[in-house]
Symmetry: C2
DNA sequence: TTGATATAGATGCAATTGCATATATATGCG
DNA sequence: CGCATATATATGCAATTGCATCTATATCAA
């Protein structure tokens, strides 16, 4: 009541606030739709795809857990348990990493590669439907540029 | 191997794919940073703020649960339990809704209003830091416009 | 009136996440 | 070497989420 919070703390402009609200809504809406499409096709969630994709691109189909972590949006402890599930499902294997006794290799299996391919078919269709049909390439490019600014030097 | 998946399933263009990756990354990064700022200030997570804001704007500070659901990104069963927690924390109360025996009122308390205000101070600062410092108003406006297209007619 | 169907909200249970910490190994420094 | 600190990964436990279903009430049509 007595001091002035408006000057004490910088207020985001209405444009910023609006962008934020739409960022949350759009992300949740599109992500939800894509996850739903995967589930309908009896496929695992997107996190699994991210891991499989990184592994399938890596030399010898193998990466260290921390490398997967860097390339994806997964927290260390979540990744550790996701790998447990994927291992149990036969999509990856873990091996000791000889150069460093603390390390592990995570290796994609043939089943993992084929799962990645099956998921991509559904994922690609969902992306097209939920994003591609709503933005042209110029708009998508512009969107990506603007979003890139947000991720920098967080 | 034998048929042609490229023609059978529409592939999203690289622009679309890139926009999607950046959408996920930016949202997670900014959301994570904001949540972190709230936690550091010993405040509850953003979902609580969304509910408190809607209630504080509503006539008599009260809404039906399904109205909160429509205005926020919360699923019915999650909202129900969030309201349990907020009730226990003294920020809202529930009352029977006389016109319809199935319904409830959710009413913001004074403690709820002051929590909303306290959270906004931190939230506003975080938005400014994590978004406002990275986009000017014209860019934010453009971003909001592009994202709006994504939420339409999902 | 009665039964069929719809709607509002709550809840049991399993799966996932977050948080802190554990374990094992490595590295650097006196 | 021997200790302090850092790194890679795993794990126990509590909180949150998702899913299905439940309860209660409302609506509608025969």
């Amino acid at each position: 009541m007595s001091d002035d919070p408006e000057t004490a703390h910088p207020q985001p402009s209405p444009f910023i606030t609006r962008a934020w609200v739409h960022l949350m809504r759009a992300q949740q809406r599109v992500l939800g739709a894509i996850e739903q499409d995967l589930k309908t096709a009896d496929l695992p969630p997107l996190g699994w795809y991210d891991v499989l994709l990184e592994l399938s691109r890596a030399t010898d189909g193998r990466l260290r857990p921390y490398e997967i972590e860097e390339r994806t949006l997964l927290a260390q402890h979540n990744l550790s348990r996701l790998l447990d599930r994927m291992d149990k499902a036969g999509l990856v294997q873990r091996e000791v990493y000889a150069e460093d006794g603390r390390g592990r290799w995570v290796i994609i299996t043939e089943a993992g590669r084929s799962m990645q391919a099956r998921m991509w078919r559904v994922y690609a269709g969902a992306l097209q439907r939920h994003l591609g049909d709503k933005l042209n390439d110029a708009q998508a490019d512009q969107l990506a540029e603007l979003l890139t600014a947000l991720s920098r030097s967080a």
